[in-house]
Point group: D2
Chain length 435, copies 4
């Protein structure tokens, strides 16, 4: 039943265009196609190498003219073009587990790209299997994390797949040493060339975040240029009035957002997340400029804006601490550290990540309730919280109520905790005496 529904949904989502196939090809490649210069050149180049090419373009919320991209791929000779709206499953199956985990890489990065990559690769593999393609290809560079995230998911879900990674093939990267070579190639092969000049950095966008890196940002001392950010308002241009939200969680996942002032309400996953993006973006929330450690062992500089994800990060952290036992929290925190690293390194589709996701999900059983917060000038301020399953006990903690608690017990607790410390001191003194 569930399966059927899914199929219907996805047949509605998929817009497939057939084109003439070549004879005697080396085989069929499903290419992760973005519509941009790089993957357009790769599409043509793959055909040049003797492959039939199926273009695959996933909509994970990036700004894109999907219709135009589809036409373009078709015009460049793609045998078929699949454009798939994965936004709902991106939010529900990838971002939500990230929210449950409070996933964060190296204490700062909310993993927007890392979450999208396995979602896209999974879609691409599905098409490759469905179309009987032995090959998949992508335009990720040879120094980054994305090649790894992309390929590990492909190998995990389709172990016999062959991967063509042009930017790691000498015959490709020696031919296209810079953007000019690509432009030249494009002109010679009827590939439409972008009319606007390329920004002096590279970008990756999806509905969770935009990342900026490379180019002028490679100098770690260079400040990010004004006007770079696209999802968030500059804090100094942000409104002078905060928005106050109430976010309701069930099972560690947001199920409803209410704007206290204007009474706006969202309760479906995608809509809710987009609304948080809107509010966060309006108030300039979620910008970071960091140095990070790539899986591949080099440090890189990345700038990110994650408006809605940042709001959820703070809200979930708060409701979790309110409802989760202290010691469970500690264990869950260590699992989250592992999850974040697995995610960053591209191991979403690994036995260890499946295991950790299972455990984290279990930990969220009672993470429910409402968090009130205000969003203002780049900040998320937690204002209050309530929950039917809170472990917070006002009578227990109150300074004015003794309740069931006997303060004398604390004395014994401390004395017993001091046993070790006093023994240690006894020994140290003995040593000091000797020395």
């Amino acid at each position: 039943m569930h399966l059927i529904l899914t199929l219907i949904t996805s047949s509605r989502r998929l817009k497939v265009l057939h084109s003439n196939s070549m004879s005697q090809s080396k085989g069929t490649v499903v290419l992760a196609y973005s519509g941009g210069l790089d993957t357009s050149c790769i599409l043509v180049w793959l055909k040049e190498q003797g492959y039939e090419v199926i273009a695959y373009l996933a909509n994970v919320g990036q700004e894109e003219d999907f219709e135009a991209a589809q036409k373009k791929a078709h015009a460049l000779g793609a045998k078929k073009v699949f454009i798939e709206d994965l936004r709902k499953e991106f939010v529900e199956e990838f971002i939500w587990p990230g929210v449950q985990a409070n996933a964060i890489y190296e204490d700062r990065y909310l993993l927007g790209t890392s979450l999208a990559r396995p979602c896209i690769a999974r879609g691409q593999v599905k098409i490759a299997k469905q179309e009987g393609a032995q090959f998949v290809s992508h335009g990720a560079t040879g120094k980054g994390n994305d090649q790894i995230r992309f390929e590990l998911t492909c190998y995990a879900l389709y172990p016999d797949v062959k991967i063509i990674s042009p930017w790691r093939l000498p015959e490709f990267f020696n031919r296209f040493l810079g953007r000019n070579d690509l432009m030249e190639y494009a002109k010679n092969h009827g590939i439409p060339v972008p009319v606007t000049p390329k920004s002096p950095w590279s970008m990756d966008a999806n509905l969770m975040h935009i990342s900026y890196e490379s180019g002028i940002l490679e100098n770690p001392k260079n400040q990010a240029p004004a006007g770079m950010y696209q999802m968030t308002t500059d804090p100094d241009k942000a409104p002078n009035t905060p928005d106050t939200l109430e976010i309701e969680f069930k099972n560690g996942v947001p199920v409803k957002v209410t704007n206290i002032h204007d009474k706006t309400t969202c309760d479906s996953a995608l809509e809710l997340f987009l609304y948080l993006n809107k509010i966060g973006g309006k108030h300039g929330v979620g910008r970071i400029d960091i140095i990070e450690n790539r899986f591949i062992g080099m440090k890189s500089r990345g700038i990110y804006e994650t408006p809605g994800g940042t709001i959820l990060f703070h809200a979930h952290m708060d409701i979790e601490t309110f409802t989760m036992d202290k010691e469970v929290r500690k264990i869950k925190q260590s699992l989250s550290l592992k999850f974040s690293e697995q995610l960053y390194n591209g191991f979403w589709d690994s036995p260890e990540c499946e295991f950790v996701r299972h455990c984290i999900n279990k930990s969220q059983e009672y993470v429910q309730g409402k968090v009130q917060l205000s969003v203002y000038k780049g900040n998320v301020y937690i204002l209050g919280r309530e929950s039917p399953s809170s472990l917070y006990n006002r009578d227990l903690v109150s300074m004015n109520v003794q309740g069931d608690y006997d303060p004398c017990d604390a004395g014994g607790f401390i004395k017993i905790n001091a046993v070790r410390l006093r023994e240690h001191h006894r020994l140290q003194s003995k040593k000091d005496c000797k020395a």
Copy 2:
């Protein structure tokens, strides 16, 4: 030599006042005295119980009329009064290790009270030993963390000490059931009574932070009242122009702060930290409203403002990631988690905390360089960084330079990382076939 210097310093710092001692006392108590109603009553009550009382008041940066407090203690019958300026050692010996560690409790609390407590208790124990006092006492409640932090340090440094904790003694807490009882007692014993009404919450202040809890804040849904904060400007009243700072680190510790605009420079620990407090406070940096798990097993609600500490937290995190190897960082992070918990729970003076501090300090050997950041409307924005010992290699990471790096290697790296994932899939498929 060093010892002598210290003694001179501390004799300069200490302002001792003698008073008449009682005959046939139960012994001498060094009381952690704050000058407020509670510890004033405790002082008198202890005398009533037959102890001689030495008042000990540490200056860790709280707003206080130390002269008046001294006179008051004397007037109440303290045998001696010690007022000690510990601000420099608080910053250098307690806050700095916290900065090196990126110490943070439960992902949010920067541990301002936890850092001050062992500093104060150490001072008090020193006096107790010096004065031959067998007892120490304090005014911490029986439900909180401070009693533990205070007493564990005392037991660790002075294993034979006897601790009098009035709020855990039935003869005390049954006599003083509320503030009114204290007021009554004060009136009857010539203890000056505060003229301003008590705020409907309790506060703990030192130069690192102010914490607010209890009273109306005990309802976790109640928003913190306007006008409560004392170290930080409300973000909506904060200046419309950012301050841009450059903070220089050596050995993981800030050694210089420069205000890029007005060229203000600080390079001694205390001065530098106070300056960061000033800037952070002016821009409303470092407010949090959290639920936290006390050591004692109950959840409480705490509100904190940590202006300078928050700036340093972000700046240190940045320079550390810039200069520290990725895998060292991971291990150091797990040590920091332990350190933060030890600190929060009161185990500063424990063998495990000494061990962890040693290891963390070792990890900071090459954590040096300069971080540029702007402080604005409650936010700290990292703008750039530079370091003589950075492991960031621009040529290595650049998209435009191949350098020493062979992109083909990444293919092998990924394939080998996929070995396990493909095996797992192989097995899963076998199972699925069977089922």
Copy 3:
């Protein structure tokens, strides 16, 4: 359905004896009764203090004349006596999770007492609730772990219970300063006195292990005396022929044991465990002499013999590594460390232990197969293993088969792993040059 079955089983198991109840008592106490001198005196003493006493004696496999103990308790004035055979649930619900976890405390102790304590306390609490008793009591000392394990389970399952721990009550421990005082009291109160002299150490036995401590063993340099061990043959008297077993696991739990030589087979949990005890005991397996860290912060010396548990520890470790993914194993290992500590410290009935047990159980999904091993002269030698869900791939690992594996990939893998190391060296050399 399940519930009903359980009730029938337990009504069959329980042998209840009623006695006359006192009027105007302080209330009813369920006492963990062992039949020995200590708890017999406690029983009488509790009655003396004005309580009605219900004796509770759990059979967790210790050598005991349960009938005699029952009569004795009755004779001493117990209102009721419950004797319950918990051996099956001890194995299935406590030892099995320990086996799944490879639970081991401080790398050596297999936690035999720690596993039994919550099993017994759970039974006792069930009776207390059923009988409407507000009190429970036990004979554990005030310096050990057992008091904690016992009481934490009681508080967790019956939060309003009052616990009477005589060895922590001054009115009791000051009255009974040594064994002689107990003997004297026994004689005066008609309590039968043991005729055999007490061994110069104390013992705790259940079907998993026997522990020995105290008395002459308190000197950590004293070698354990000959003849002390009761479950295991001295290795020098053990047979000169090994026993060879095959143990089959499902879900990380043993489901069948076969003796290869004599074809003995066991496949129910209790029977299987007792058989492993027999074989392990015969060959002197599972003796350790250790120093351990009690929860209470002191070091103690303990000697343990755990014959069957030791065999299972080795067998399970082997089948687990054979069938579990490497990275899952690492995460599971860190969970097991936590589980072992929770268990040792008495937190079986805590949210964190429930969480960890859930996660560990999940990790055991594919831990199945057969392990062959021989047991000989105190050793367990793993001989071989097989499994339908092994991740071991002989073709992949074979030196003689290339298979799907391209050795060239390893070169890329190594080069990428070396990126960091070379950068580190680059920086170190720069520093060395400068210095």
Copy 4:
């Protein structure tokens, strides 16, 4: 001073033989030469490819006719031959840190090969730098761990080195598909061919252990054949009388071994370790048969015998627990897990391993004292221990002495630890009521 001594020592150790060098070579390769068929063929093959070859043979305690190996290498055309006795530094600089750490991989493997590899590679790199060789080479296969351990150390210490790994080069591995091809090649190139038939498994030996794998052992169910082990007596042929030893530790490292019976004493590192090997070997100590997870992601089956290392593992564990604070122990244990993994994966010469070694060494400051143990029929039995810096306090732990300890404190300790558990139960009951 220290440097000079070292140089003298190493010039004594090194036996260098010059041979005629070729003209117009591709460069010089330092080959890790074992004297066996494989590396002899590689030596000749490298010359064939146009390299000048320096043979490097490290003595880490393996059984080998070093003189013969040297002559053979010379005869095969090596330009120079270096034979270096690294046994002392292997023990002191590699095995000792392993002992301090209680290093063990996946709970069972004592890392004998992992410890030797960086020791050998370091020596080889030293020669390569000294001789101005740009290349190093080795005979490790493309599926194993040793290639990684070897090469990571080379890259770390000599970042510009080029590594020739013939078993990963298609031109080599496609030419030598099996042992017959090597034999054929050997005959054609005047390489002496082994006269004894090869054992149906492969072996790696050093003074710490011998490992056995491959061949008939690749079937994980096949029992290890009788007569395979070379360092240890079969337990059933082991003596019927134990040896009783006393091992003294300082700084976590053994400094003296005394045989209680015959009064044999050793106190230098190498001698002491060889003596423990002798005793352990005589009694059949330290055999394991395991499945392990290679770094490269595949499971393999390995059989190991580590006689002296196993004795030290048990003895060190005991003295460590006796002298180290409980909480320090836990942190150190987590560092050891990391260390063991780093070691196994070949990261000895990494910043993270240097950091962890530093921390572990720090933790050993007070790990000193004497452990008495008996070695018998494959077992190591700890009998007793003593230490000037033990944290074991007999009076504190004794059941017969109250000492400074107030048992009432334990009641408070337990009650406070139960606060969380009771709250959890309170919430669970509420839920159960609702449901």
